[in-house]
Symmetry: C2
């Protein structure tokens, strides 16, 4: 399903370039309505979470009795949204540890190799989880299976909460600018520590040094613009609730605090609101 750019993609395909091989996917099976697509074995959900309400109408034409719904969206709350509307047993979640940007309607720029982690919503992995992961690996993308999707979602937030947030509220800067500035780096580590503490408070046990792999990856990443910064620069809505709002609400509900995250959440909402009313 491609809602906006269908004719461009049908005509040109998709170009992928950057780190690793440059290539073009010439012929893409794409459609502009889910009715046209019809029943599927697997539906991969990659819309911005700000469009989740559209899914209520978009998804039903795709559903057969055992159709799997795999959300690759960021943050917290998307699995629950799908479970509530289409049944928990359908829902799988995936985390994309990637560094790529869609730079035009038909071009994707890739800055580093990445990987995907798959899991089941609210239960351990199933035979189908491993089958889907194997399919993704066959397509050339490294994919592993987790027994605890919720834990991995929190683990990914260790990166997203500071980097996606600071990149916008610090005035539109990339990961290299954040990692390279003493104070922003300190703020990043403090935010990472907040996320780890909040996850633990919510019963998802992350080690105290879970920030380390994220910092090391960020240092190797070069000047990368987080997806939220690209959204901001392009005037698109920001995925504020799944990435900052929902983790904060869960931490507070569990008796925790995320003071730095809360400030960033508040600033992002204000910046987003001011832009929409311009």
């Amino acid at each position: 399903l491609i809602r906006g750019d269908l004719s461009d993609v049908r005509r040109d395909g998709i170009f992928v370039r950057g780190e690793g091989d440059n290539f073009r996917v010439a012929k893409i099976n794409c459609y502009n309505s889910t009715k046209e697509i019809g029943g599927c074995d697997l539906v991969i959900i990659a819309v911005k979470a700000t469009s989740n309400s559209d899914l209520v109408d978009l998804v039903p034409p795709l559903l057969r009795e055992r159709t799997m719904l795999l959300t690759l969206q960021n943050g917290l709350g998307n699995d629950e949204f799908l479970a509530e509307h289409f049944g928990a047993e359908r829902v799988m979640g995936g985390l994309c540890f990637i560094a790529l940007n869609r730079i035009s309607r038909t071009e994707i720029e890739r800055y580093a190799y990445g990987h995907v982690v798959l899991g089941e919503f609210g239960r351990a992995s199933q035979p189908r989880t491993r089958e889907v992961a194997a399919e993704i690996n066959r397509a050339g993308v490294q994919c592993t299976v987790t027994e605890d999707l919720a834990l991995e979602r929190w683990r990914k937030l260790i990166w997203n909460i500071p980097f996606n947030g600071l990149s916008i509220v610090a005035g539109g800067i990339d990961t290299a600018a954040i990692v390279g500035d003493k104070d922003l780096r300190h703020a990043t580590l403090a935010l990472m520590d907040e996320v780890i503490t909040a996850a633990n408070k919510c019963g998802h046990v992350l080690p105290r040094d879970a920030w380390r792999e994220h910092m090391e990856r960020s240092e190797k990443m070069g000047p990368y613009k987080p997806s939220t910064l690209l959204d901001w620069e392009a005037g698109r809505p920001l995925e504020i609730e799944p990435m900052w709002g929902e983790p904060l609400r869960r931490a507070v509900a569990a008796g925790g605090q995320m003071p730095r995250t809360e400030i960033i959440y508040t600033l992002l909402k204000q910046l987003d609101k001011a832009r929409q009313t311009q």
Copy 2:
């Protein structure tokens, strides 16, 4: 001493307008060097703290044996700076609870009546403190004396740390926009609470509800732009260290934390730095 706008002020005087009487001070005794001014009884220091290093050369021509130095600057560290360079016994500090902006070289717009609180650096009030306060009262500005200048400086930060900070990092908004938004208001109260906790940690005992008078005043104030926001909009340097850096350092040195203040401090430094390198 007027360094930049001397000829304008000599020609036009200063216009004061807004809340209360509009009036013009036609003849102002102003000079462009402190050597021209010579020895004084009282030197009122109203430069931006970012220009403090200039004072090392500017102040000495004004000093007689008993010359008083009264800093009306915001934040922490200015009293100490003067004490270190010119002797602690000379130093008095004043806090301006005002709502006014200099909107051009010769015009001042006033949004509300305000008052000034005077105190001695590092000691209780002296006969001279009350004499200076009486002089300011005679000039038509309500002025009271405090026995504890350091405490009052912290009390003023309860307002400046949230409002001056948020007005910039939330995208250039006035006090009414902050007070009127549920989340920004919540952030403001959380920041106020941080300041009160930090002050207490540093031995300056403020009541837990010391935020209340500040919020009430802000609600009456209307759409006021804090001085730091005006500096930001005009491309002038920001008084970041006295208003955020120094309180944070003192709180941390006393074993406290100001996580929200720290994020705002970091963002302001980054925004200021990015602008200077543009």
